[in-house]
Symmetry: C3
Subunit: 119 residues, 3 copies
Amino acid sequence: MKNDITRTHTTARMSKIVRHGDLVYLCGQTSSGTDFTDMAGQAAETLRRVDALLEEAGTDKSRLLSALIHIRSMDDFTAMNAVWDAWLPPGAAPARTTVQAALASPQLLFEVTVVAAAG
Amino acid sequence: MKNDITRTHTTARMSKIVRHGDLVYLCGQTSSGTDFTDMAGQAAETLRRVDALLEEAGTDKSRLLSALIHIRSMDDFTAMNAVWDAWLPPGAAPARTTVQAALASPQLLFEVTVVAAAG
Amino acid sequence: MKNDITRTHTTARMSKIVRHGDLVYLCGQTSSGTDFTDMAGQAAETLRRVDALLEEAGTDKSRLLSALIHIRSMDDFTAMNAVWDAWLPPGAAPARTTVQAALASPQLLFEVTVVAAAG
């Protein structure tokens, strides 16, 4: 097997971080779903997790290339954007897509899947 | 900060175009939602926007690698495909995925997220 | 036109395989929708199709980088995971995101969109 793919936090189901070439892929990140029941809290908790994984991968949120956001309800679109916009470094926003979808458990309101440039 | 990522039309929320290495990422593209209320019109308007952004990024629709399409209702699947198929250059279709999802505003029927090879 | 993109099974609508640089993109894969009416059967049939396309592209499931899974109902999440987990080679799981979405036809329960490293 070639040794050009680096995976971190790998289970039988998924890796939280996959690095290949100059790209870093994170698995879909959500909050715990229990610490916060509102979008503001869940989005902030989730983005802290993204920060931690990006740091572990040797990169950071200033190097995001794309973000696919799923939210449980578009009623939370404005609340989500407020957290998201404040989180991003000025001038470094990725290409983003946001759609509505039910997530893995009913209490989850926000999930983000990012691809970043390696550090 | 490394200078290997080029972003265009960047706000606090997202960039319309992100280029890194030999890949170009566009943010999810929709129609205005007001000029057209049917799928045929919205899909065509959206794809004109994709064309313009790809051109601005120095590439074009013959170099699409992947497309993720979200449509508000699968009732519009056939109408969407008619516009999509006619838009693509012969022999240059990307890998595509189409699923149903509610989009950022209720009047939006079609959104496409593409990754293209740089020109 | 540059000759750096290789497409396979290309129709007016999509290519099943697109290769560019060291990345392989597959179009969203589903089962036939008719051979199996349950998640276990549909997921297994779909993943056999993924295997065949990856092989045709000169790579395999040990080189998956990301997977975006859409399932018609989160009621099938556990059944889907059982098939998925058994299918992946140990230590080689990709970054994964799973959300609920209606697919192109009502009988389809599972769709997966993967990006893999070239072989």
